[in-house]
Amino acid sequence: MPPAAVLPRDPRHLQIAFLASFLAAGVGWLGFDVPVWQPPLILLTACVTQWAMTRLMRAPPVGHLSPLITSLGLSLLLRTDAFWVGPFAAAVAISSKFVLRVRGKHLFNPTNLGLVVAMLLTPHAWCSPSQWGHSGALLGWFAAFGLAVAHRSFRSDVSLAFLGAWVLLKAARIFYLGAPWASLQHQLSAGGLILFTFFMISDPKTTPDHRVGRVLYAVSVAGLAFFLLHGLWWQNALVWALCLVSPLTPLIDRLLPCGRFQWPGGRELERKDACASVSSQPA
């Protein structure tokens, strides 16, 4: 039996399994500075916010897979020394899906916006981008690519375009500086990069509809993040870059119109043409 046949059709189930095991490894073995009660608290807030906003905005219920992914992402990336910051970020993240919309599509990746707002508005939030260690990150890449090979709906052109551009820029910098090549491998063994590549920038609900638009979007994020990191010495450059590029999605959609993405099981049929949705075509 091909591996794809035994895996669930909705890639979100795979994403949840992946993120949950990443979180368990981080808290259990890697000593992440995350108190055990924080992920459940974030999850609870996310689900309550989703439920409340669905009722308030009279939106059709869309299930709880997405808030679960947002909660896991926030639990993995957000660090805080105050108990309320996690739930606050979760509430902001989920609410943004209902409030910040352009032409029926939400503007920001919820996890990304939750992180950015928490870091900008509270004096208690930060990200620890390099807490995975070498082996942890290696396992993470292995698992992420494994899933992408095994399950076609896990593949994303945005992820690959971003990763390609990012590795190319990093390699070019190392070549230019004459720095040791080992530093490329070192820079890629950041767990945050895996999460960003496969779970944040790839979010099909917030990326442009047309494939060309998505590649353009991914390359812009990589380019901006590279400039912020190495030109301006910003920390967490990937997170800031995505947040800054996201508002361009409606513009790209206007210039390159295409069918809207629906998670499997949604009302619209998946498209099979050249501008097919992000995770329904092999990248």
Partner: protein, 448 residues
């Protein structure tokens, strides 16, 4: 609460006991004579607020002073007023204040009434070449941007167009350059960094009356919050230890490009470690370093400078802090709060080598203000007569506790359990239960 803090004045110097002799840290030594040059453990104080940075570099340089010369990459051309020669005693104070510590507790008489309460209430954890002519210099692409004498140091600030030229210039100016220097210098030149070259001015040095080199301090503004460790690896023979004291207004400092982990802390260990702390902590550090695949930085201390609990040494006075470069103490506290919420100290300990640390250390200031200290607890057993029932229960518990302490120590340091129990003497597990009778193996009671 009866406890006593051992003034375990562990200076960073002992770290080198476990590490092979290292040669340099943020830069490399470029001695003019072929003597063996080494410094044991480097200490750097980083004061950072916004883009303002004050760096104090201290080294335990042991060679002849005539041979001392140091090259450090710096982000900007430094003016004379941005350089200062500090005093070593302040770094020693900082070290003593933040050093890993032992804490002692004494068990009370279990037959006295408050026994149980006391046992429960024992806090398990506190929360945690200037001489060269200009034409030659120009042909090599090296520019002397500035030249000063600061204290006992003669300082040159160089900029260079290409690494080969800089290497040749240093060599022709009489500096002894390690073989792979050009390769190590290249990335800094490409990033438009400048080079700070310091030598000892022997006349001034004699006049100071010190028989050691005082720390060099530089104050500058730069977006870059980093320490250039790669250059020092050019002539290093093995892994090098570096202790970084980072002071900020905002919170804890961590590396943004290496894993930063807290050193194992808050453990009960056998009391004999009191006499062997200088072996214990390096062994623990070595084990933790191995566990992290030699690729991590360790946090040994994070505390608001206004207080400590328990204190290994008194917090530094505003005067001492100012000498170390904390420049904001005179400013109005925006919170309007008194007390010591203005400086958060993070003590980081790195053991690095070329293979496991392929790039310079980059740091970020986090908003984390949670306190942490490397703290190990010694609990002394009650030695008096135990004639009540509670006393017998205490002995049984005590024996279990000693067993756990021995296992914890073995786990932390990698020392043999057998050796540990031998060193525990009367405290060795099995000696307390049932008076002095050793415990019978379980199977002896099986078919009785």
């Amino acid at each position: 609460m009866r406890f006593r803090l051992l003034a375990a004045s562990l200076t960073a110097g002992w770290v080198s006991l476990a590490a092979p002799a290292a040669e340099a840290f943020c830069g490399f030594y470029v001695g003019k004579a072929d003597t063996s040059l080494f410094n044991e453990a480097s200490q750097v104080v980083l004061v950072r607020d916004g883009e303002r940075t004050v760096v104090t570099m201290s080294n335990d340089y042991k060679g002849a002073l005539t041979d001392f010369a140091l090259v450090v990459p710096v982000p900007v051309v430094l003016k004379r007023e941005q350089l200062h020669v500090g005093e070593r005693k302040y770094i020693e104070r900082l070290d003593a204040y933040s050093a890993p510590r032992l804490v002692e507790y004494f068990d009370e008489d279990p037959c006295a009434e408050r026994m149980v309460v006391l046992q429960e209430s024992l806090p398990a954890a506190v929360p945690a070449g200037a001489g060269m002519d200009a034409v030659r210099r120009k042909s090599l692409g090296v520019t002397v941007e500035a030249q000063y004498t600061v204290g006992e140091y003669d300082i040159l600030i160089l900029s260079a167009k290409e690494s080969e030229g800089l290497e040749t210039w240093l060599r022709e100016s009489g500096y002894k350059i390690p073989p792979k220097a050009a390769k190590a210098l290249a990335p800094y030149i490409k990033q438009d960094m400048k080079f700070f070259v310091a030598k000892v001015n022997l006349k001034v040095q004699k006049a100071t009356g010190f028989n050691y080199l005082r720390p060099l301090q530089m104050a500058y503004e730069s977006k870059k919050f980093m320490l250039p460790i790669r250059l020092g690896m050019a002539n290093a023979r093995g892994p090098q230890d570096l202790v970084i004291y980072a002071m900020t207004r905002q919170g804890r400092v961590e590396s943004s490009n290496y894993r930063t982990v807290k050193v194992p802390s808050d453990m009960d260990i056998p009391v004999f470690v009191k006499d062997e702390f200088k072996q214990f902590y390096p062994a623990l550090f070595e084990k933790a370093h191995e566990r992290e695949e030699k690729r991590a930085l360790f946090t040994e201390y994070v505390w608001d400078m206004g207080w400590c609990d328990p204190c290994a040494a008194d917090p530094l006075s505003p005067e001492e802090l100012r000498n170390l470069g904390v420049f904001w103490l005179d400013e109005q506290n925006p919170n309007g709060m008194g007390g010591g919420s203005q400086v958060v100290l993070t003590r980081l300990h790195a053991r690095y080598d070329g293979e496991h640390f392929p790039e310079d250390l980059v740091f970020q200031v986090t908003n984390d203000r949670q306190n942490f200290q490397a703290r190990y607890v010694l609990r002394h057993a009650f030695k008096g007569p135990l004639e009540c029932e509670a006393g017998q229960r205490y002995l049984t518990e005590l024996d279990k506790r000693h067993q756990r302490e021995a296992e914890t120590l073995a786990n932390l340091t990698g020392w043999e359990l057998g050796t540990i129990t031998k060193k525990m003497g009367d405290d060795a597990p099995g000696k307390k239960t049932g008076g002095s009778k050793p415990q019978e193996p379980w199977y002896k009671r099986l078919w009785k």
